[in-house]
């Protein structure tokens, strides 16, 4: 067996760190206001998980492939959550012609309205449709670029459509 024997002191140190972090996360959860708490709590949880994985699960001394396997699951979970949220956070938006006068016509792009509008998750706020400065302007810019590229083709369509009529 090629396993290294880790001193008890190391394990005890890790346990102590984990318990301190537990106290810290509960304290932070009680003190901080809504919203910020979840970021802090998840950061602390991540630190705790990394400690357990590195020391208790011996990844620190593990072979590269074991490290890869340890990371892969979490990476793939990030893909699943990340890309699903890309949809959810940019989905809301009123239908096209129902936008009150004065707001950008491009706001119509997310044609579907979910039953309850999404609340922003702080870290991903830049994707939120409510954030005019980001997602809508992103889509608006995209639309403009593409529109410029196809003006001639659009005109051709219209012409053809009239001719058919």
């Amino acid at each position: 067996m090629s396993e290294q024997i880790v001193p008890v002191k190391t394990y005890a140190g890790v346990l102590a760190a984990l318990l301190v972090l537990l106290v810290a996360t509960v304290a932070a959860g009680l003190i901080e206001g809504p919203g910020l708490g979840i970021t802090t709590a998840l950061s602390i949880a991540t630190v705790k998980a990394v400690l357990i994985v590195l020391f208790f699960m011996h990844v620190r001394h593990g072979s590269p492939i074991v490290r890869l396997a340890a990371v892969a699951g979490f990476l793939w979970l990030a893909l699943l959550i990340g890309l699903s949220m890309t949809d959810l956070l940019t989905r809301d938006g009123p239908p096209a012609t129902d936008i009150p006068a004065g707001s950008a016509p491009d706001a119509s792009l997310g044609a579907n309205s979910s039953p309850t509008g999404p609340k922003m998750v702080e870290q991903l706020a830049s994707f939120s449709p409510r954030n005019e400065a980001s997602s809508q302007s992103l889509i608006a810019t995209g639309t403009k670029i593409i529109d410029a590229a196809i003006t001639t083709q659009g005109a051709a369509d219209r012409g053809q459509a009239r001719a058919v009529r």
């Binding site: 699943l80 890309l83 959810l88 449709p129 997602s135």
Partner: protein, 552 residues
């Protein structure tokens, strides 16, 4: 070749009683067990297809009721996807040959391998029982809220069967990855691995990382359906699109589960029958990994008209386009392998070339579906049906048959009748195209999938499709007959009837229980074929085989 004899002792005659099979931990025997069970499931699923193709001969619903029709296509989808296509090449050919190709005596976890088979067969028989005695009508996609609230059929029983067999897939994938990492023979470095092994490595990554999400999704359907706890149904506060995200996070990569191992088989077969080293080994190997990884990033292209956000649709369309590149790289490299080879069109080669042609068409029509505006028109029509059948049947089933024919002599020690082999390969190719090519046209015309009755003007193309399906059905029955026939009457193959390279050919056919009498050591890259060797006179048999053989 008449002087060649079967070896005296091999894995098939090592033990005869039933328990020596049902409790075997020999990867080769488990591969055979899988082959028998898969064949059974294939013909159950195929029978359903024949029935509903007959129904679709006429526009009206005159053969079966709507309920029955819906249960038939669901049965076909569920059985074919989970109990034939996904397990086919990995569990039969992968199980049998992956350890032999890397020079191992068995998979890393032989008992787990046997447990996988039990989970698979248990889940499969349970599902078939549930679907034949009561039926389920949700389609294999189980879309919510239909499946979770509205369907009155055996959704839960079917889901349980699929759930159980999912663990079989996970365990198989895990077994393969560990085997490839830890069990390679001396000298078998990563870039000396046959491409079949690379394909299975990539495939196992998907098995391991995607399947659990399906399992938990089915669990959530169960929660909603049985306990009435809302997860996906809007009436209970849920969102049906979450289901689609979770489901396609599994099911799109699952499409690559159905094609990557087939690609592995084709890489082996093409080189052998072109007598030439594979062109662009590294590119084919890494394109398998690229497909496996990119395959996880494209699921939203099933949701362009689902109400998904525009930004998400754009992202997924863009990522879906990228996956065309590794697929194209593979096709170009296989074609280049043929250049200046010494090609013989034996049965496995016919299947493999058929695979390349049909996969090319299936892959290219995938681009139509990844293109946002075209997908708005063809999504959920017969265009989609044709596309994925070109990949799954034109691709995977052709790959599976190529592999079965290529390695049949190794598995059984006997050759199948070559003329019948070529005949059925050609028949299947034409039957397949006649069945599914008209469906592309139907799809662009706008015929939605899963329609029991349809407008009259679609009839001509549907009749063509049904005619093709009957040819295809006959095409699949012929190999079943002659392969069974060959078990007793086929010519003795000898250790290496194709003069193939690769470790699996350096041991007698059928192989001994522990695969090799002596652990082989590897000194060169795979596919050291030389087109200059005259092929009319076979090279002398290795000493190994001669020593093992004896008169019957």
């Amino acid at each position: 070749m008449n002087n060649v004899q079967l070896p005296k002792r091999h894995y098939l005659n090592a033990d005869y009683n039933v328990w020596s099979w049902l409790l075997s931990t020999d990867h080769k025997r488990i591969g055979i067990l899988y082959m028998i069970s898969l064949t059974l499931f294939f013909f159950v699923g195929g029978a359903a297809a024949v029935l509903f193709r007959l129904e679709l001969m006429t526009p009206g619903g005159d053969l079966v009721l709507s309920e029955t029709y819906n249960k038939l296509f669901t049965l076909h989808g569920v059985i074919m996807v989970w109990f034939f296509l996904i397990p086919s090449v990995p569990t039969v050919l992968g199980n049998f040959f992956l350890p032999m190709m890397i020079g191992a005596r068995d998979l890393a976890f032989p008992r787990l391998n046997l447990a996988s088979w039990y989970l698979f067969v248990g889940g499969g028989l349970f599902t078939v029982w549930a679907m034949l005695t009561g039926g389920v009508d949700t389609g294999w996609t189980f879309y919510t809220p239909y499946s979770s609230t509205y369907a009155n059929t055996r959704v839960m029983l079917t889901a349980i069967g699929v759930f159980v067999s999912g663990f079989s897939t996970i365990l198989t994938g895990m077994n393969f990855i560990v085997t490839i990492h830890t069990m390679r023979a001396p000298g078998m470095t990563w870039f000396r691995l046959p491409l079949f092994v690379w394909a299975h490595y990539a495939n196992s990554l998907i098995m391991v990382l995607a399947t659990p999400v399906l399992a938990v999704t089915l669990l959530l359907i169960g929660m909603e359906r049985v306990l009435g706890v809302g997860v996906f149904d809007p009436n209970l506060g849920g969102d049906p699109l979450l289901f689609q995200h979770l489901f396609w996070f599994y099911s799109h990569p699952a499409v690559y589960l159905m094609i990557l191992p087939g690609m592995g088989v084709v890489s082996e077969v093409i080189t052998c029958f072109a007598r030439k080293g594979i062109f662009g080994y590294t590119f084919i190997a890494f394109s398998s990994l690229a497909i496996a990884v990119l395959g996880f990033l494209v699921w939203g292209h099933h949701m362009f008209v689902s109400g998904q956000s525009v930004l998400a649709s754009l992202t997924f369309s863009f990522l879906s386009m990228l996956i065309a590149v590794p697929s194209a790289v593979k096709v170009f490299n296989w074609t280049a392998t043929l250049h200046k080879g010494s090609i013989s069109l034996d049965t496995p080669m016919l299947y493999a070339l058929g695979f390349i042609g049909l996969f090319t068409m299936g892959g290219l029509t995938g681009l139509f579906l990844a293109t946002l505006a075209v997908d708005q028109h063809v999504h959920d029509t017969y265009f989609v049906v044709a596309h994925f059948h070109y990949i799954m049947v034109g691709g995977m089933v052709m790959g599976y048959l190529a592999g079965i024919h290529f390695w049949w002599p190794k598995m059984t020690g006997r050759l199948y009748p070559e003329w019948w082999g070529r005949f059925s390969a050609v028949l299947i190719f034409f039957g397949f195209n006649l069945t599914f090519f008209p469906q592309y046209l139907l799809g662009y015309l706008g015929m939605p999938r899963r329609y029991h009755v349809y407008p009259d003007e679609f009839q001509v193309l549907n009749v063509m499709s049904t005619a093709g399906a009957s040819i295809l059905g006959v095409g699949y029955l012929i190999p079943l007959v002659y392969l069974i026939w060959s078990l007793r009457y086929g010519k003795i193959a000898g250790p290496n009837p194709w003069q193939a390279t690769g470790l699996e050919w350096q041991t007698p056919s059928p192989p001994p229980t522990f695969n090799f009498d002596e652990t082989p050591s590897v000194t060169e890259r795979p596919y050291q074929y030389s087109p200059w060797t005259p092929q009319t006179a076979p090279p002398p048999e290795p000493e190994l085989a001669a020593a093992e053989t004896t008169s019957p």
